[in-house]
Symmetry: C2
Subunit: 458 residues, 2 copies
């Protein structure tokens, strides 16, 4: 490992330059106009896998964006096989005017690299590539068998991934999955995430009159779709943040006493947290701490809303239509399909007869819990300790990586979540960035991890 | 009058062609990019006033868009002086894709002329111009003294008109004001509007965190500005449409028993009304008929709402900001300034401490009631009877023409509201149009009106 450690250290600047090329590709999976860019990004991943020494590299077509696969299986049958999963697609960039540098022109400032996808998830995928390369260059081999699975539809709900995994169980067969698509708890607080939230993402469209009306001539006689939508949204959650959808909490796996104790151990400065967001008060379900609410309790948030006149000045219309995107973060045991139905039924129940309401499910995914008492987790603890010089903490993540649930179901493999992002790196908002020290320590940690995993007796 | 009647009849087609030139100018007063078009439109009005034979024509500058004035005062001191008021600016055109023809390319279909401004208010201003011209061409004079005042900021709240009137009281001194900027009750139901609603138009902006957040990582911990805005909007009006703002109804002038009897006389087909709007149920304050609610009771409507991700697909953000345009139609005795303050105080009272709320007043205007027992109203009844062959009904209009109140206050002149639009001519929405038969009968009615007014003994 000494050779590898010093190799990684001496290639620090080169890694950043190489990462920039990855980040320059605008692989926004939700935008039809970026379709070719997404493909170009898949080709980039393919050539990188080849460059670091993997074999059997192939771009698999799907009805949507392609999946890139590569492997190296010469470590021997007595060594574990690790499936590394990540995604090369990124979130949209709007509002564009709030970016300091253009989102696809990676820029270094204050020890961070700023670009869409830097933290979520290109930078973290690159960490794995470079740690594998470090083993390959120095030893001509890897200490464990490696499979690499990088998809291009994570930001739109991994819509074709389950099918792919289901059709390629033998190809993807493994002892454990490793995913780096989450955040460390804090800078200098390396952490292993053992729980993820699921998601049910809905769209609600309200139609009132068949055309925009003069609000003077019709106001008072006809229901207004924006007002009606506001009434619907207000009835989904009470003033304290408790969700009011019938049956919503029925299947929620409650937090154990031990888990709540672990939550209390995590360093959390509420004052700093509020200052960082510039808010005067936090908000949410009573009876739970902020960290619990943000990661281990289900939520409901409007992600977008629109309707009527949004321009400058005053247009006196009673609009024909209004709509909102409303998503619910789910916790383990909540089934997205069931929640989607509960949501739809509830919205239809409370919608007034004076408007028409259409509810659509845009995407969903299950939450997940990973057992923390396994040799692969022990190896991760040791690897992070060596990479960061600190014993990692166990955390839960509020975001969704639905594929983790699929790996458990279809491959019967537990996923180890090793995040190297930070919570304030703006994963889905303007000025997304990745801390370059964590990028470097991540490469070192994963290089150690491959080595630690090789010590596991099969 | 015989010569004038036949002159108007034989120039029917020419009037429509001339009107098209007026309608082609995109004089959208709220759009900064149409600033020059608005000026061009003022120049058009100026040259028309000259062409029909008015004198003392002048474009008056304001801090915003210009006002056009012209007069003809040679009828003699024993004849009444009538101030004709209208506006040459128009509403914005969006959503543009819902127009059958481009909004500034006037097109004739089914006996209507389609274009932005055709009904509101260019077509109706043109009615007055052409009836004056008919008198001038045939008699070389007008039966009464005429002042013409056409402004370019009606659609943005006539922000500079009060100042202009206040500074030019002598110039504008008159016995009565005539305004054609409203609708007839129905086709073949000529009507005289005796009441108008006022307006208080507000903007509410809600700010949560200082940036868009990942809804997975932060959802549950932080209030969402869209959800908060929906809660605020839902608390402004109950499920039946009653406004909940403290003190909102305090100054409302109640409908008299006689007025409610008059309302009942108006022909109104609720089934046809609903079918025309494609809605299953009407909506509004209990205890009042649909016509009463739409014209003689105050209302609150969201005119627009925005926030977060409005694109295709699913973006999982907890947005930083959300906003809405919310306007209230007021009835006589409600003061816009007082209502704006009640609204602002109420929103600030109900806004949760977990978000920041900014409330702005965009514009406002008072409602008005005109006495219906006067010689000028009697003359209007007779003119409409001659122009349409039917006795007109008295109505109230739900929209706002705040300047009517200003005329009462500053010029001590009552306003006669003679609308030639129809309620379903899409005044503020796509495919705005004006019925050409009403356009023609309007010109005839106003020509009669000038004649009838000349019989009034001063």
């Amino acid at each position: 490992m000494e050779k590898i450690i010093s190799y990684i250290d001496s290639n620090k600047d080169k890694y950043v330059e190489e990462l920039k090329e990855f980040l320059k590709i605008p692989s926004v999976s939700t935008n039809p106009e970026n379709r070719e860019d997404v493909r170009k990004c898949a080709e980039f991943v393919k050539s990188e896998l080849k460059a670091i020494g993997l074999e059997n590299i192939k771009i698999y077509e799907t009805p949507g964006h392609p999946i890139v696969y590569g492997d190296w299986l010469k470590a021997g049958e007595d060594k574990p096989t690790i499936l590394i999963y990540g995604h090369y697609d990124v979130q949209p960039v709007d509002p564009l005017n709030l970016w300091t540098n253009p989102p696809f022109e990676p820029t270094i400032r204050n020890g961070n690299i700023y670009a869409r996808g830097s933290a979520d998830d290109k930078g973290q995928v690159f960490i794995h590539m470079k740690s594998i390369q470090a083993h390959m260059v120095n030893n001509g081999s890897l200490p464990v068998n490696i499979k690499f699975l990088i998809e291009g539809e994570e930001e739109i709900g991994s819509v074709n991934l389950d099918n792919f995994i289901s059709s390629n169980k033998e190809l993807l067969k493994c002892d454990n999955v490793v995913v780096s698509d989450s955040a460390m708890f804090d800078y200098d607080v390396p952490s292993i995430c053992y729980g993820l939230r699921g998601l049910a993402y809905m769209q609600v469209e309200v139609t009132g009159p068949n055309r925009d009306l003069h609000s003077g001539s019709f106001g008072g006689a006809v229901n207004n779709p924006i007002n009606a939508l506001a009434h619907i949204i207000a009835k989904l959650k009470d003033d304290k943040g408790k969700i009011l959808i019938d049956g919503f909490y029925d299947d929620v796996l409650p937090l154990t006493e031990k888990e709540r104790e672990e939550f209390k151990k995590l360093p959390f400065d509420e004052k700093k947290y509020k200052e960082g967001l510039e808010i005067n008060e936090l908000f949410g379900e009573e009876g739970y701490s902020t960290l619990e609410r943000a990661s281990a309790r289900p939520t409901l948030d409007c992600n977008g809303i629109w309707g009527g006149f949004q321009g400058e000045g005053a247009k006196t219309i009673l609009p024909s239509k209004a709509g909102a995107k409303i998503s619910m973060r789910l916790v383990p045991n909540q089934e997205p399909e069931k929640i989607e139905k509960l949501f739809t039924d509830f919205v239809n129940k409370i919608a007034p007869a004076s408007v028409k309401v259409k509810v659509t499910s845009l995407h969903g995914g299950k939450g997940a819990i990973t057992p923390i008492d396994s040799p692969a987790i022990d190896a991760a603890v040791e690897a992070l300790r060596k990479g960061f010089g600190k014993v990692p903490l166990f955390t839960r993540e509020g975001g969704s990586i639905p594929v983790v649930n699929t790996f458990q179901t279809l491959l019967e493999a537990d996923t180890i979540l090793l995040g190297f992002g930070l919570p304030d790196e703006n994963a889905h908002s303007p000025d997304e960035h990745l801390n370059l020290s964590n990028f470097q320590r991540g490469i070192l940690s994963i290089a150690h991890y491959l080595n630690e995993l090789s010590k596991i007796k099969k």
